[in-house]
């Protein structure tokens, strides 16, 4: 089943994104990268055959990114 390859690739991308998030210093970058994380996640859901979940994740990804950015406005942007 070719979709398994796709899943593996997407998961590897997600792992890369996660590493970026863990070791990132700029919170805005981290937040934007997290937005892309949920974008890739959405693809993965579709590949896994769960369009409903993917739809929800798409909407949620937007909403939570907005929340994160809003919060980011109140706090210092750079971290140690």
């Amino acid at each position: 089943m070719p979709s398994l390859f796709l899943e593996a690739v997407l998961l590897l991308i997600l792992i890369g994104i996660t590493l970026t998030i863990i070791f990132g210093k700029d919170l805005l970058t981290v937040t934007i990268v997290y937005c892309s994380f949920s974008f890739v996640t959405m693809f993965l859901y579709i590949v896994m055959g769960a369009p409903d979940v993917a739809f929800t994740e798409a909407v949620i990804g937007v909403v939570s990114t907005i929340y994160f950015i809003m919060t980011l406005k109140t706090i210092r942007r750079h971290t140690k």
């Binding site: 089943m1 398994l4 369009p51 409903d52 739809f55 929800t56 909407v59 949620i60 937007v62 909403v63 907005i66 929340y67 809003m70 919060t71 406005k73 109140t74």
Partner: protein
């Protein structure tokens, strides 16, 4: 302490391959594995007839496991309530907005950027109604194809967010909700869901047994009506909660074009 925990976690990460020898989890895609046979087959074969919803996920979500969804909605309301209560105290006076009166006349939308372009105006005027129509479509069509109450509510909430954040100055906002009103609406949305449960009970059935809705409908109709009712509740609640949390957090945000900051700059 943290370092020790980190090392432990790393060790666990390295140990995962050893845990995952064959047989711990079923092979992906195996049609005969346990999760794909026992309850799953029953749902696939019967849920469409029993719930009158071609989208099996919606059928399960809203009908078989409707009680879960009731509390999922409650969790959303709870999140909104929590955000409002946590941020209900007056912010520290130095960090508060002190908005000059003439400033309000000039710029009724605090969060809006100073500059505006025709592109954004057009985008918004195009997008907002489209999003709302799409939300309505998602809501009504949820049981037939993808989507449902939650997605519809989230899209509606997003429409509001865009309205708040990007609408340029002069135009009136589509709907202005402060966080308290939004919260009340969220509560009422979830209440509609609970009310459906109560109605089925007054009709002589068990909780969320849509066949017993006291409207005198047939089996298929009553299930559709029940699912629509609860999806309405979910939609309202999710929309209101997204707006609530947004308002609660935005009350504390200091934007770049905050008048005080500009005064400081000058």
């Amino acid at each position: 302490m943290r370092k020790v925990l980190a090392i432990i976690t790393l060790v666990i990460i390295l140990l995962i391959p050893t845990f995952l020898f064959d047989g711990i989890m079923p092979s992906i895609g195996d049609p005969n594995s346990a999760p794909n046979t026992h309850v799953s087959d029953y749902y696939i074969e019967n849920s469409v007839e029993m719930t009158n919803s071609p989208n099996m996920v919606t059928g399960i979500l809203a009908d078989f496991r409707g009680f879960d969804t009731m509390f999922e909605t409650t969790v959303m309301f709870l999140a909104g309530l929590g955000a409002v209560l946590i941020l209900s105290n007056r912010p520290n006076i130095k960090k508060r907005f002190i908005i000059p009166r003439n400033y309000i006349k000039q710029r009724p939308n605090i969060g809006a950027p100073r500059y505006k372009t025709i592109n954004k105006d057009v985008m918004i005027t195009l997008f907002e109604p489209l999003m709302m129509i799409y939300a309505a479509y998602v809501y009504f069509h949820g049981e037939i194809s993808l989507g449902g109450g939650f997605q519809a509510g989230a899209v509606l909430g997003l429409a509001y967010i865009i309205d708040v954040m990007i609408v340029p100055g002069r135009r009136k906002k589509l709907f202005a909700l402060d966080k308290g009103n939004a919260l009340s609406i969220g509560g009422i949305g979830t209440f509609i869901y609970a009310l459906t449960g109560i109605l089925t009970m007054t009709g002589g059935g068990l909780c969320l047994e849509y066949d017993k809705l006291p409207f005198g409908l047939s089996h298929a109709e009553s299930h559709s009506a029940g699912i629509l009712m609860i999806e309405l509740g979910v939609t309202i609640c999710v929309m209101a909660t997204i707006i609530t949390i947004l308002n609660a957090i935005m009350g504390r945000v200091r934007f770049d074009d905050d008048p005080i900051k500009r005064r400081e700059d000058a």
